[in-house]
């Protein structure tokens, strides 16, 4: 079960069909018992799906509908409040904080996606070559993805938080001044993004490794016989062959970055002076610190909308690049 889960999932979503490509289906194989089996099968399917449907309605369906109610009311966590129409959306869209958070989310996402992709791709290519103990390195390099964010953010805090922390001390010793990694707005944003890349590159590395493993090595032999350079082989053969998987990993990482909460919140809490406040952090603060449910949920809704639009654009790209 590797990236294939997601890849086949996306492929299915694009085609709009249920999974089940490889197998046939029961009701086609029963021959003389066809109709009897079919009715019985449908009944069984119904019962097998029931708990899943109930949970989906309770945990996903209901909240989504209720969030729609909250976004159009001026209530708080205790009362629904009065219906205010699109006022919350208007307020949110008219506030500077929202646009600042949008800008940060955008930069955070772009750096998160491409930063982790470049690092992951580089390492995947390196690990694809013969290296002593290569398998061990591959496992060790996955640790940033496995270790809980709560733990790694604590370690990062210890490393960079105060002027006396090890990393600023190292910079001082090298005569580079004393950077305030979490206190300076620009540096704090950069630190949060570096942390995100550190957490996410193993995912990209795994996705890319899986894609590279399916590339037939004989194509390189043919290419080098034709006089293609290493770089040409990489850009003309490797990249196009893993393009589909690459796009899928970009889409997923975009979703992870936009929806990310702990990476930012645990390192900086959204500060200093809101420099690292993403849309999720802003929505969280609005609801649970300012007790303004309506605007908070409105932000979450706008985010959902953006995510859908971005995914649609990227889906189209996948379809275009499909090398099936």
């Amino acid at each position: 079960m590797s990236s294939t889960t997601v890849q086949s999932g996306l492929a299915r979503a694009r085609r709009g069909v249920a999974p089940g490509g490889s197998g046939g289906r029961p009701r086609n194989n029963g021959l003389n018992r066809k109709s009897k089996l079919s009715a019985q099968t449908s009944r069984t399917y119904f019962w097998l799906l029931l708990t899943s449907v109930i949970l989906l309605v309770l945990i996903h369906g209901y909240p989504l509908v209720y969030a729609g109610v909250q976004a159009t009311h001026d209530g708080n966590l205790i009362e629904t409040g009065n219906f205010v129409g699109v006022e919350n959306f208007a307020n949110v869209l008219g506030s500077a904080a929202f646009w600042k958070a949008t800008q940060f989310t955008l930069i955070f996402t772009i750096v998160g996606v491409f930063g982790s992709w470049l690092v992951g791709l580089g390492l995947a290519l390196l690990l694809r070559t013969k290296i002593p103990a290569g398998g061990t390195f591959k496992v060790l390099l996955l640790l940033p993805w496995v270790v809980p964010i709560v733990v790694s953010s604590t370690a990062w805090n210890w490393l960079v938080a105060t002027p006396e922390s090890p990393v600023p001390s190292l910079f001082r010793a090298l005569g580079l001044g004393t950077p305030l990694f979490l206190a300076d707005p620009t540096l704090a944003a950069a630190t949060v993004m570096a942390f995100k890349v550190w957490v996410s590159f193993p995912f990209m590395m795994m996705m890319t490794s899986a894609a590279l493993a399916s590339v037939d090595n004989t194509v390189y032999e043919a290419a080098s016989m034709d006089g293609a350079s290493r770089f040409q082989q990489f850009s003309q053969i490797t990249l196009p062959l893993i393009a589909r998987s690459t796009y899928i990993s970009w889409i997923l990482m975009t979703i992870f970055c936009v929806n990310d909460f702990p990476t930012i919140y645990l390192l900086t809490g959204g500060g200093p002076v809101d420099a690292t406040t993403s849309l999720v952090v802003l929505a969280y603060r609005k609801v649970f610190q300012d007790f303004q449910t309506g605007p908070g949920v409105a932000i979450a809704f706008l985010m959902t909308l953006t995510l859908v639009i971005v995914s649609v654009i990227l889906y189209r790209q996948i379809r275009k690049s499909s090398v099936e």
């Binding site: 999974p19 089940g20 490889s22 945990i59 989504l64 496992v139 709560v150 929806n259």
Partner: protein
């Protein structure tokens, strides 16, 4: 599919391939030198990347500033167990996580079977629905759920937390199970149907029995999601003795900003289970599933 971590292509593009097509011969002196150069490079990268994790481990087992001990010590670990609610938090985290794993698999396996075998419009519609729900930000549903659960006494409650975790794992978990069931040929089931077995019977006796890798991948995914979650926990948990480990670590950290030995001891306790799971079951570790798992967390 589960071979992500085992894939060691025999020769890569960076390996010299002669025009005669005999890669082995090139691996002479220059090839060997390249190998060790790359080894040094990856060793350096890995060392830098793992600094935060090594720091955590080292600090957890180094005596704190007020301690009289020297060298390696378990002092910090025993300190957090005796002076904080670490044992309770650990127990809470384990309870919630194991419950999430068991229930997620129990819900996702039958649903995944229907997604894998069924071909009706309703089934494909449901499958799309799961996919859409999966990519929505969790913050959207957390607020309404908070209000719903407050009315039911499920806020600050481990059962409430488990229900939300099961809800957030079920979409990806169902897809993962369905993808695995796809790889089990229907012909295996046909044989049992001819023997008079029902569809449900063939699902449990034939399909499920042959799906251990799929179940394990799904279980690992659910485990990591529930174990690592912070957003749901910070919203739903209020009292110290109901905290799961992420909340415990954070609250201790915020109250004792300078007690790094204590924080790191808690951090080590928290990262141990995922690392054990990863170390023992890494061939079932799934990129896609785990990818989905951390969306929005």
């Amino acid at each position: 599919m589960s071979a992500v971590l085992h894939a060691h292509p025999e020769s890569g593009p960076a390996l010299g391939v002669t025009e005669t097509g005999k890669p082995r011969r090139v691996l002479s002196e220059a090839g060997m030198r390249g190998r060790w150069w790359r080894f040094t490079l990856i060793l350096a990268i890995t060392a830098i990347v793992l600094v935060p994790i090594m720091v955590t481990v080292v600090l957890a087992f180094t005596p704190g500033p007020t301690s009289t001990a020297t060298g390696f010590t378990f002092e910090n670990i025993s300190y957090v167990f005796s002076q904080t609610l670490a044992a309770t938090w650990l127990k809470n985290s384990l309870t919630v996580t194991l419950a999430t794993v068991v229930v997620s698999v129990a819900v996702a396996a039958p649903a995944g079977y229907v997604l894998s075998r069924g071909r009706s419009k309703a089934v494909s519609g449901y499958s799309l629905l799961l996919f859409v729900m999966q990519s929505l930000p969790i913050i959207t549903s957390v607020v309404p759920l908070f209000i719903l659960f407050a009315g039911m006494g499920l806020v600050d409650n481990l059962l409430g937390l488990t229900i939300i975790y099961v809800g957030s794992t079920m979409t990806v978990a169902t897809w993962m199970m369905a993808a695995y069931f796809d790889s089990i040929p229907v012909s295996l089931e046909e044989a049992s149907w001819i023997d008079g077995c029902s569809v449900f019977g063939s699902f449990t006796k034939v399909v499920l029995r042959n799906s251990l890798p799929g179940v394990l991948s799904t279980a690992i995914f659910a485990f990591l999601l529930a174990w690592n979650d912070y957003l749901v926990a910070i919203v739903f948990l209020r009292s110290n003795e109901i905290f799961t480990l992420p909340m415990g670590v954070q609250s201790f950290f915020q109250q004792n900003l300078t007690d790094w030995s204590g924080v790191m001891a808690l951090a080590v306790i928290m990262m141990l289970p995922p690392i054990i799971v990863f170390a023992t079951l890494n061939k079932y570790f799934s990129v896609g599933g785990i990818g989905g798992s951390l969306a929005g967390r």
